[in-house]
């Protein structure tokens, strides 16, 4: 079967969704399909430009494709008689983020109309799809709450699980992933400045923008943490990233209300590392069980500092939580084999 995976594209930005699309393609091929990725540029600023981009996607005509798997807004608006949506996220600024005042859509007459247009278009795309899967319970709940659309959770597998072997623990906590405001690496630095112990940390990943990079570097200097924190701000080769994780004492990831379980956390669980996060980190909380697979703090520097101190001081606990995280993750049996079967059935 000729399967086209469709994803958004922000030039020179590479993150979890891009990895997922790439691995989905590879695994489709492994399972005997022909597969390609179509990446369609999308930028959400200014908000008034969103509609024309939605229209562009909607106008595409696909031929020589048997099956489409679309991952995100707005690419899931694409027309195809056999379209499956594996929903990583909608345009949240038109939904939950709008409700909490974190949207680029103004809370005005026109803003509300724009929001409604996005919802109308979304509903049109959802209704015409043959199946909708979501990448987490959070995404599923949101889809039902705002669009009254039922879906099935289909958790994404870890890519290259064989490289996340774990191993001898070094003396640092690892914070991997994209660097931006939503992932709150600055809050991590503030927490480190408040720890009682000299907790060390490696923060590694590609900044979304120069501003994200500079903010982090300046804060590191301001808080005088250079001797305890290593910043490796770039897109890391996969093995290099795995090495950081495998040698870490534990893994911390504190995004604001993430939709999914988070690749960083899934890979950390695969590697048998204790998982640290905050209570407002969304989908991650399905994987991070307090005092079972890791520790959950309140989303403030003091509380995060506390769990950093705990895990730093008690390495046995870190080992135990890590092992339990790996067991729990394995029990979910999330494999590419299962995912491919579901998506192209």
């Amino acid at each position: 079967m000729k399967v086209l995976v469709i994803n958004n594209m922000a030039p020179f930005v590479w993150g979890g969704a891009e990895e997922l699309a790439e691995n989905l393609k590879q695994n489709l091929i492994i399972h005997g399909h022909e597969a390609e990725i179509l990446r369609i540029p999308f930028k959400y600023e200014p908000a008034n430009d969103i509609i024309s981009q939605m229209m562009m996607v909607r106008a595409f005509e696909l031929t020589n494709v048997d099956h489409v798997i679309a991952l995100k807004f707005p690419v899931y608006l694409i027309r195809h008689p056999k379209k499956t949506i594996w929903l990583l996220h909608q345009y949240r600024q038109a939904y939950d983020l709008f409700d909490v005042g974190l949207s680029n859509i103004p809370n005005s007459d026109n803003g509300l109309k724009l929001k409604k247009s996005i919802k109308n278009a979304d509903n049109e795309a959802f209704i015409e799809s043959r199946a909708i899967y979501t990448n987490s319970k959070v995404t599923q709940d949101r889809l039902f709450k705002y669009n009254n659309i039922k879906s099935t959770v289909l958790l994404p597998p870890v890519n290259n699980p064989e490289i996340f072997t774990g191993g001898i623990m070094d003396d640092y906590i690892f914070a991997g992933g994209r660097i931006n405001g939503m992932k709150r690496q600055c809050l991590l630095l503030e927490a480190l400045s408040k720890t009682k112990k000299r907790v060390k940390m490696i923060i590694a990943g590609p900044p979304d923008s120069d501003a994200d990079r500079n903010t982090l570097i300046l804060l590191l200097e301001k808080l005088n943490l250079k001797d305890r924190v290593k910043l490796d701000l770039r897109f890391l080769p996969r093995q290099e990233y795995a090495n950081y994780l495998n040698k870490s004492l534990a893994s911390i990831y504190i995004p604001l209300d993430e939709d999914s379980l988070g690749y960083v956390m899934m890979e950390s669980a695969t590697a048998g590392k204790a998982l640290l996060t905050t209570s407002d980190s969304g989908g991650l909380l399905h994987l991070v069980k307090h005092k079972e697979t890791g520790l959950i703090s309140e989303p403030n520097a003091e509380s995060i500092a506390e769990i950093l101190d705990v895990i730093w001081e008690d390495k046995k606990k870190a080992l135990l939580y890590g092992e339990q995280a790996r067991e729990y993750w394995n029990s979910l049996n999330i494999t590419w084999n299962n995912v491919i079967k579901v998506l192209v059935k």
Binding site: D49, I51, M55, N120
Partner: protein, 430 residues
């Protein structure tokens, strides 16, 4: 080509008469034409022109739709009179076609339609004009101010529902270009008068008369400047004694009372004929020594009255405005808007003093009309437009598709009109 042709056919409609000739010419060229009559049902019992083809009442929807789906192209005659064009509006939105636009100003057409389509009409006003002042329109149309109506012609409303537009002058063409999704062609309104009936009557003009006859014909309304003509005659005793002023065409009792009152006040010789059949009207035109084709404001895309008058070879006065300004200076007498009464007076004085060489003007006018307003050229332009429409179908399909998305997604009109948004789809400008 199988053509479905929407037009009024009652004799009181100038467009109906024009359609009679046009349809005949299309049939002569080998096309299969079916006429859908578009006037209100109440007009179905009134005398009609006899079309040389099948015609169907617009309200026989099942039959009409059958003809539409089996046709190659639809042609809609559109003018500013709801009474005559209601039937066209019933189909235009759903079944797009070529629009022959007789008037740029379509507020009266819109008003009539809006009474039965209040919600949609408000949306249209809002979409094209975004004028919050007129939110209560049309429930209280008295608030539809004059200044508003001068700016907002509603041309955009009709043209936006077309596949292509044929109009008769380039005046206000920008409104058409801005709103018509397909091609636009300007073609001069054709000369349609039956030459035989003119020849039979033209000799009447040679009879010695005590007074010269000045004629205004068509539906007699305010914008035909009748009161200015009466004032011009009335202010000069030579004109009072030498001019008889005729009004021929439907006239409301209010206007009739007003002009009679004014004529009495100035003591001028005014004859109000009311509606005349074709034969009587031609006779009257041939008897006339001059014709007034004054209009202000100028609301039409072109004037059949002027063309008819020119072919008759009569000295003609026109308002120096709109498409009338485009007429050659040596063929018609142009009356300034700002000096209207005095200019009319001067023209009439030249006329009675025989300072106008009627015979030379007559020949020039006829040559001009025959050369510039040929029905055959006009039909060629219609088919040029049909070709252009066919060529633009793929673009039109895309535009229609986006339109549908905008409608289904309820995209706010304010956003669509945003210049940045428009620039995103500027590919369609070509």
């Amino acid at each position: 080509m199988r053509i479905v042709f929407f037009t009024p056919i009652v004799q009181s409609s100038a467009i109906a008469k024009y359609s009679l000739y046009l349809v005949d010419e299309l049939i002569k060229k080998g096309h299969d034409v079916i006429v859908i009559r578009t006037e209100l049902e109440e007009y179905f019992q009134k005398p009609t022109y006899k079309f040389n083809t099948l015609w169907i009442d617009w309200n026989k929807k099942f039959i009409v739709e059958d003809k539409i789906v089996n046709s190659d192209i639809l042609i809609y005659q559109i003018g500013d009179c709801y009474l005559y064009h209601k039937g066209a509006l019933e189909y235009l939105k759903k079944y797009r076609g070529i629009i022959i636009l007789h008037d740029y100003y379509l507020k009266n057409l819109f008003n009539g339609w809006a009474l039965e389509n209040q919600k949609e009409s408000l949306e249209i006003l809002k979409f094209f004009y975004s004028d919050k002042e007129h939110q209560d329109y049309p429930s209280d149309s008295t608030k539809f101010k004059d200044d508003y109506s001068e700016q907002h012609y509603l041309t955009e409303w009709i043209c936006s529902m077309s596949l292509g537009v044929l109009t008769h002058s380039s005046q206000l063409i920008q409104k058409v270009l801005d709103s018509a999704p397909g091609p636009v062609v300007v073609s001069k309104l054709p000369y349609l008068m039956n030459e035989g009936s003119i020849s039979n009557n033209i000799s009447i003009n040679k009879i010695e008369k005590s007074k010269l006859d000045l004629l205004t014909f068509g539906n007699i309304n305010i914008n035909k400047r009748v009161k200015s003509v009466i004032s011009a005659i009335g202010k000069n005793y030579k004109l009072k004694n030498n001019i008889r002023y005729h009004l021929a065409g439907e006239i409301t009792s209010n206007i009739k009372e007003e002009v009679l009152c004014l004529a009495k006040q100035y003591n001028i010789d005014l004859v109000i004929h009311g509606y005349l059949d074709d034969e009587s009207l031609i006779k009257l035109k041939c008897e006339a020594d001059a014709i007034s084709c004054l209009r202000f404001p100028v609301l039409e895309a072109a004037s059949a009255t002027v063309i008819e008058s020119m072919f008759l070879g009569k000295p003609i006065i026109v308002t120096d405005h709109g498409h009338y300004s485009e007429l050659p200076d040596d063929l018609v007498f142009k009356i300034s808007i700002n000096n209207e009464v005095d200019d009319i007076e001067n023209f009439l004085l030249m006329l009675i003093q025989k300072k106008i060489n009627a015979q030379i003007i007559c020949n020039k006018l006829r040559e001009y009309v025959l050369y510039n307003h040929s029905l055959s050229n006009y039909v060629e332009d219609i088919f040029l437009l049909i070709d252009l429409v066919n060529q633009s179908k793929s673009i039109f399909k895309s535009v229609s598709y986006f339109n549908m998305l905008i409608y289904r997604w309820e995209v706010p009109p304010e956003l669509i009109k945003d210049s940045h948004f428009i620039s995103k789809i500027k590919i369609f400008n070509n």
